[in-house]
């Protein structure tokens, strides 16, 4: 502030040379209009207080709090007086700032009749700056909170410093929210953050959701995590009674699981890295680990363990079964992951064991929590040989789906057998054209077609 003082002085002195202009009158006029608007809207504020939820009742009880200057901006703006260098060559440009950074000249004047750019693109400091200092100050202090917000929206210079009472500050905030202009809401909040203790500010924000969300977003952006945390925990306490939002016990269970997982990953990573370096374990030699398992999701960890530690007893930390139980992984999810990992290793016999279950009579049966056509899909993506695919395609219940898959993966036997079971001679004849000439499949089809035991339906 102090540093800028001489400039400011210079500036205002020189400004006095400027005579009355029509712009001034314009400004008077627009001020009149603005105050009229202000009066009107204050009335509406009084009348329809519970109209919208973001315009909360202003609490009049707060005590005035000391303020620091926010209008350094404004005085600093006078540094840019050099914009007028050409008009007032005598002024010594004490600051090295770039010339004519702000100018009343607008591009839109090139396009007559397009008022779009003129106000919003160029900040018009001119009307204020032209006024003599004392008079101008009077004017500034005359602006109501609403007028101030309105001027801010137009990018004009304002002084927020003089709004010192809590009541005025909150009026500023409420009018900014009314204007639906996030830029201005944040600007007012920055001022409030500087001039109010956080206890008072937080208290007032509790009842102003829109402003609160802007404040949280602003703190996130400036990475003021300390204040953010304070605010959020305060807010949580406040919300706890009515909501149990992001702090439900269910979520803390997830976080607890994550912690357990991390602990485990650290152990597995350390052991496996040693084993890999030692070069004694075959699987690490054959399939070197591509990345550390640390910080990977649970299922990736499970996949990893199915890949490198599949046959370990359940007691070890890295055993897939142990992981399954510790983290309550669903049967389906477990199956899918084992399937993917063992298929990748082409350990088909493991899969066989995985799907085989024995019923009470001792018969074995293939069962899967995952539909078999999906199993086929996973196997095929891991380039399983036809015999393996054939086995699982045969287990698909739905006949159409089974034939479709069998044709896609060239499991001829299944196609042929299905057509035989359907007693569909025509389809079988058609399929003969698709198998290789002189192959075993062709012979099989011919045998079937010649067979006297089948009663074809067509």
């Amino acid at each position: 502030m102090m540093k800028n003082k001489p400039d400011e002085e210079d500036y205002w002195n020189s400004s006095k040379f400027k005579a009355f202009t029509f712009d001034d009158e314009d400004d008077e006029f627009s001020r009149l209009k603005e105050s009229k608007q202000a009066v009107n809207s204050i009335r509406s504020l009084v009348e329809e207080e519970d109209d919208e939820d973001e315009v909360e009742k202003v609490s009049w009880s707060g005590e005035p709090v000391g303020s620091i200057s926010w209008s350094v901006r404004e005085t600093a703006a006078s540094n840019q007086k050099t914009q007028r260098e050409h008009a007032f060559p005598k002024i010594n440009a004490s600051s090295p700032s770039v010339s004519r950074s702000h100018s009343g000249y607008s591009l839109s004047s090139l396009f007559k009749g397009e008022s779009a750019l003129s106000e919003s693109s160029v900040k018009l400091y001119a009307p204020e700056l032209r006024k003599p200092k004392s008079e101008s100050k009077d004017y500034i202090s005359d602006w109501s909170p609403e007028e101030t917000i309105h001027r801010m929206q137009q990018g004009k210079v304002v002084s927020l410093e003089r709004f010192r009472s809590l009541q005025d500050k909150l009026l500023l905030l409420d009018f900014s929210v009314r204007a639906h202009d996030g830029n201005i809401i944040t600007a007012v909040l920055i001022h409030l953050k500087r001039t109010l203790s956080k206890e008072v500010l937080f208290r007032e924000l509790e009842s102003r959701q829109t402003a609160l969300r802007h404040f949280i977003h602003y703190l996130t952006e400036i990475r003021d995590h300390r204040l953010l945390l304070e605010l959020l925990s305060k807010r949580r306490d406040f919300l706890k009674s009515c909501l149990n939002l992001p702090f439900s016990p269910e979520e803390s269970a997830h976080v607890q699981d994550h912690y357990t997982l991390l602990e485990r990953q650290i152990i597995i990573e350390a052991t496996d890295r040693l084993a890999e370096h030692a070069g004694k374990v075959e699987i690490f030699q054959k399939f070197p680990r591509r990345a550390s398992i640390l910080n990977m999701p649970l299922i990736t960890t499970l996949y990893y363990c199915c890949f490198y530690h599949y046959n370990e007893p359940e007691g070890t930390y890295s055993s897939p079964l142990n992981i399954r139980h510790t983290f309550r992984i669903s049967e389906k999810q477990y199956f899918v992951t084992v399937l993917a990992a063992r298929a990748k290793l082409k350990a088909w016999s493991d899969l066989d064991a995985l799907f085989t279950s024995r019923n009470w009579l001792g018969f074995t049966k293939k069962k899967s929590p995952l539909s078999f056509h999906r199993v086929v899909d996973i196997l095929q993506k891991n380039s399983a040989p036809t015999q393996v695919l054939q086995e699982y395609v045969g287990l698909v219940d739905d006949a159409d789906l089974r034939i479709g898959l069998a044709q896609k993966h060239k499991c001829h036997d299944i196609v042929i057998n299905t057509y035989r079971d359907l007693k569909d001679r025509q389809l079988l004849l058609g399929y003969r054209g698709k198998v290789e000439r002189g192959s075993a499949e062709e012979r099989k089809i011919n045998d079937l077609l010649d067979s006297p035991h089948i009663r074809w339906k067509n």
Partner: protein
């Protein structure tokens, strides 16, 4: 592909003016810093800048070197540095670091920040805090609108979606108002403005205020009506897989600022090519709005025609050959190049889509939209998650499930969420919190009586049946908003009728005849009625915030000019290419021309990515 409109379509206004305006203003701003200077450009401004100016334009105005903003110490030796950035605190902080580092090293430079489309107080506050206000000067480049095509204008503000809908920050409301004001003052005045959504309403008010501040001159309107719509009015449409060519290309290759980069799998060479996708591309403009299943046959027909045209050479004499070479050959070659690119793109799309079981994915989406076989859909999604297939895709399906079913049953929700976190990482807890905040993925709050019933029944029958019963109970208790909307607006055509995708009968063709996009249907209905009257139940289901205002130019309205059939549709929070295709279709049917203005082009991946919480 030849669609015959009901009436001759009106001519679109010339939006290249917007580009000229922006370019001239940029030049003006650059000249405010006379002498040689280096220019640092924010990464996401590079493509938009490319569309309106080129390096030689910048060089002519004494820009020496161009750099990308990379948040690293700068190496420029110039004594004047200019930064062209979006108004973001992080970027301004970086510039402060640069300036303060120079100060500490005793180096003197001039710094200028050009914010586009506007500056924010919070950014200037950073300059002030860092003791640089005044040393670093600032300016605004009011580059609000970038025409991407004859009928698409983008604000290129993808962050609008997250800032406005997730963070609840209204910083862009006035920006949108200003953009509308710009369009209004050049191409207006509008006869009527309709809208729906909270943000749309605020943007409308901001615009109105700006109109009142400025002086309006009577002029010949080039745009009739305007329609503003918030993205959160319709989340279903952007969450669906796109199957119209342009949307599909965007889903797979990501169109950026009207330009796509085709990799070597498309070009079948080791080079990748950047292609502008707009109405200038004669091949593309004919297939962009087509359902993908028609594109192949169209392209092969086109290829045959091309072959015939080439074949004409045979048996030509020298003179004929000369005319052929000078007049036709260039065009044919150009067409050849485009054809082979799009055929390559189609092949690549087919390959990718077959690999990911696109057919089954679409079946699931359609079942969700129809409310049919929900259990099967859930297990499809579950398997998707179990197999750690794309994390974005899984979330997209979960969101579709949640919105169409009005939330997930608590036990489904918990199971799917747990599995999701197990498959993709627990840091997605934040993602789930974000999705819940937007209402995209929520848990149903069951009625008490229902729970009692359910648990009683649950004890009697096995799990799967219990699940089905629960579904039945809850659908009795609470009808999904989407289902109600869908019934009221006929969004899901009857599935027993064949739908000929080559001869679309309604906007549903953009989703293979399975669903008419809600957003576009609303626009159609309001334009048809010329008001919201009769749609009260619909707007109630959409949480209201609808409005309709008649513009000031009552006189113009009577003069049924062509402009009255030009409708500006503004999407706040992004729109998809599928929606644009649907509106083009609607325009052809009704003799309108739509101009789509959007804060950014979006699709399901962009939408979900904007809400991920795992990268914080």
């Amino acid at each position: 592909m030849a669609h015959s409109g009901r009436r001759d379509s009106p001519e679109l206004p010339d939006f290249s003016l917007l580009k000229r305006l922006a370019r001239d203003q940029l030049i003006y701003l650059l000249e405010q810093l006379p002498g040689k200077k280096d220019l640092f450009i924010e990464a996401d401004l590079m493509s938009p800048l490319d569309r309106i100016a080129n390096v030689s334009t910048l060089k002519q105005h004494e820009v020496d070197k161009l750099y990308k903003v990379e948040y690293k110490p700068i190496i420029s030796t110039s004594d004047q540095v200019c930064f062209l950035i979006r108004p973001r605190i992080q970027t301004v902080k970086w510039i402060c670091d640069v300036a303060n580092a120079d100060k500490a090293a005793g180096k003197f430079r001039r710094y200028k920040i050009i914010f586009t489309p506007q500056k924010f107080y919070a950014c200037e506050a950073v300059l002030e805090e860092q003791g640089l206000f005044g040393d670093v000067t600032t300016d605004e480049w009011a580059f609000y609108l970038l025409p991407l095509d004859d009928d698409i204008i983008s604000l290129e503000l993808p962050e609008f979606f997250r800032d406005n809908f997730l963070a609840g920050d209204q910083r862009w409301v006035r920006t949108v108002g200003s953009a509308l004001h710009l369009l209004h003052s050049i191409y207006g005045p509008f006869s009527k403005i309709y809208g729906i959504g909270r943000c749309a309403k605020m943007a409308y008010e901001s615009w109105k205020e700006q109109v009142e501040e400025g002086d309006t001159k009577a002029r010949q309107a080039e745009i009739g009506n305007a329609f503003l719509i918030d993205r959160d009015v319709d989340y279903i449409t952007p969450l669906c897989s796109q199957v119209v060519y342009e949307g599909l290309v965007d889903d797979i290759f990501r169109i950026k600022c009207g330009c796509v980069e085709f990799g070597h799998d498309v070009t079948s060479s080791d080079k990748s090519v950047k292609v502008m996708l707009n109405s200038q591309d004669k091949v593309f403009s004919e297939i962009r709005n087509e359902h993908f299943s028609n594109v192949f046959s169209f392209l092969s027909q086109k290829a045959r025609n091309l072959q015939t045209a080439y074949d004409k050479r045979r048996g030509m004499d020298i003179k004929q050959m000369k005319t052929f070479v000078s007049e036709e050959l260039k065009g044919l070659k150009q067409e050849h190049r485009l054809l082979s690119l799009h055929i390559g793109a189609c092949e690549s799309i087919m390959k990718k889509k077959t690999k990911q079981d696109f057919q089954e994915l679409l079946k699931t989406e359609h079942s969700l939209l129809e409310g049919f076989e929900i259990r099967e859909c859930i297990s499809f999604i579950e398997e998707h998650i179990n197999r750690q297939v794309s994390m974005i895709e899984s979330l997209r399906l979960l969101c579709l499930l949640s919105i169409t079913e009005n939330g997930l049953l608590p036990k489904d929700f918990r199971a799917l969420k747990a599995q999701y976190l197990q498959s993709y990482g627990v840091d997605h807890l934040l993602t789930f919190a974000n999705l819940r905040q937007l209402g995209l993925l929520v848990e149903q709050q069951p009625g008490e009586t229902l729970t009692v019933m359910e648990s009683k029944v649950g004890k009697l029958v096995n799990d799967k049946t219990a699940g089905k019963l629960t579904d039945a109970f809850s659908s009795l208790a609470k009808k999904s908003h989407f289902r109600a909307l869908s019934r009221k607006l006929n969004l899901v055509p009857k599935s027993d009728e064949e739908y000929d995708l080559r001869v679309p009968r309604d906007m549903a063709y953009i989703f293979s005849g399975a669903y008419i996009p809600l957003s576009c249907k609303l626009i159609e209905q309001v334009l048809e009625r010329d008001s919201w009257t009769g749609l009260e139940e619909v707007t109630k289901l959409l949480n209201g915030h609808e409005f309709a205002f008649t513009g000031s130019n009552g006189a113009d309205l009577r003069a049924k000019s062509d402009a009255q059939r030009i409708i500006l549709v503004m999407f706040l929070g992004g729109c998809t290419f599928s929606e644009i295709s649907a509106l083009r279709f609607l325009g052809r049917e009704r003799g309108y021309k739509f101009i789509v203005v959007t804060t950014a082009i979006t699709n399901s991946s962009r939408l979900i990515e904007a809400l991920l919480g795992n990268k914080v």
